[in-house]
């Protein structure tokens, strides 16, 4: 089997997709948004609860989709939990660079980079980048109070 495939579907990704972290909804969510990929029918719904300080006190997601989109959503909820809004947006910027195969530079702290690096294999599959970014765009939309997100 080709190395790029093994890298894309490494054990961590498959584990996240099979056993997603923070899967479910939040009854008293402060921010909610739904994302939809009209090309493949994948859906994700992100629930956020922000603390008065503006930090992400809780985050959960519901969704149906491919291993990449589910793993990405699961990883995202793991990494942004407890962060400030600014940090979450910074992480999103860095993540987008990572999966598009662009220079990540200083946009990700080393420990964040290490945690998100399992998604770097997506960059070798341009047709799948939208799967990896759907959850992040949807979270961003929720934080900005936006409506449904479409990832094409």
């Amino acid at each position: 089997m080709e190395d790029t495939l093994r890298e894309l579907y490494q054990e961590v990704i498959l584990d996240h997709s099979r056993h997603p972290r923070h899967f479910g909804s939040i009854a008293d969510a402060t921010h909610v948004a739904e994302g939809h990929n009209p090309l493949c029918g994948d859906r994700v719904k992100i629930y956020l609860k922000l603390a008065p300080t503006g930090a992400i006190e809780d985050i959960r997601f519901e969704g149906k989709g491919c291993a990449i989109s589910q793993a990405s959503a699961s990883l995202m909820t793991d990494i942004v939990l407890g962060r400030s809004l600014e940090e979450a947006k910074q992480l999103m910027g860095g993540f987008l660079h990572l999966v598009k195969g662009e220079e990540v530079g200083q946009t990700l702290q080393p420990e964040d980079r290490e945690q998100l690096d399992v998604m770097a294999g997506v960059s070798a599959f341009p047709m799948r980048v939208k799967c990896a970014t759907l959850a992040w765009h949807t979270m961003n939309s929720a934080l900005e109070g936006g409506a449904a997100v479409k990832s094409e």
Binding site: M1, C40, G41, D42, R43
Partner: protein
Amino acid sequence: MNARHTQFDVDRVRADFPILGREVYGKPLVYLDNAASAQKPLVVLERMTSFASQEFANVHRGVHFLSARATDAYEGARARVQAFLNARDTSEIVFTKGGTEAINLVAASFVAPILKPGDEIVLTVMEHHSNIVPWHLLRERHGAVLKWVDVGDDGSLDLNALEAAIGPRTRFLAITHMSNVLGTITPLEKIVALAHAKGVSVLADGCQGAVHEAVDVQALDIDFYVITGHKLYGPTGIGALYAKSAHLERMRPYQGGGEMIREVTRDSVTYADPPARFEAGTPPIIEAVGLARALEYLTALDRAAAHAHEQALYQQAREAVREFNWLRVIGDAPQKGAILSFECDGMHAHDIATILDRQGVAVRAGHHCAQVLMDRFGTVSTTRASFAFYNTMAEVDALVGALAKAREVLG
């Protein structure tokens, strides 16, 4: 069926399609996405090049040499489509940019003018979005009611349910000739007869059907039949609508522009006779010539042998995947074309397609522009392998092997 060798000389036809010889990711291309778009034989590409480089001008306009040559080629293409569908007259063939435009044309010019709010349009749940959304537009704009005919769990159409769906307020029936997901082939002759018995006109979406089945619009007595060029081994950007001349004559124009008029003044306009009335603007001339060459190529094949070969490929694949207890085939109707759609436990179609792709196997993953059907089968996406006469038994083996590998990676 396990005949690995059919009467059809697949090696000979493969040589006609240059792209089939290429590799992807260093592996031989196994192209099983034919229902999305078919590959083109070299003769089609050569004909388009020779036409564009030696015979091209705009049609129906100039008096000069090339304009006459181009007009002859374009009208000759119309005659080729007429023969392919066995239409009574060339004026019953309208060139469009594809199947989608042809259906939209019928919706706007034939159905919309006869609709009153609450009138019904009957569809099946296995229609492609191109045969759903034009009718949704009529629902939104004219208050039409869409009535849906279900399919059985095996994907077959229940004719009794279809007949029951056609009521006193039904104005139109739009139905696929062959499902792009299930492969189900619909018995058009019976369908047309039972619709006509209730005074309802019928459109068949033949974008898949015409590729695999012989079509005789007169024998079917069908009102409208739609084809698209790129699935018929021809170019993109060209399709055709067959319509009975009695319908075309009373249909209003679809788009306005050059070529579709008789006379234009400051205050009035009169329209050309069909088919020109429905071909506003410069048509896809080179594409029409390419389509004609593709139809010539296709009809020169032994189509019965080609069909048998496709069926043998399908049966081989269908039998092989029975080994995979984690795979569920969607679409097992007794009458079906060479399309294998399936779902896999714990494996999403896009992940499967990505892994197949890296082994050179091109399949489609997703909802296939058939979300109503996905909903019917309680899923959002399937993986689909669709076969053409140029596919081989070795390619079926490659598909099956690649699926086993996908299971290994994702399972």
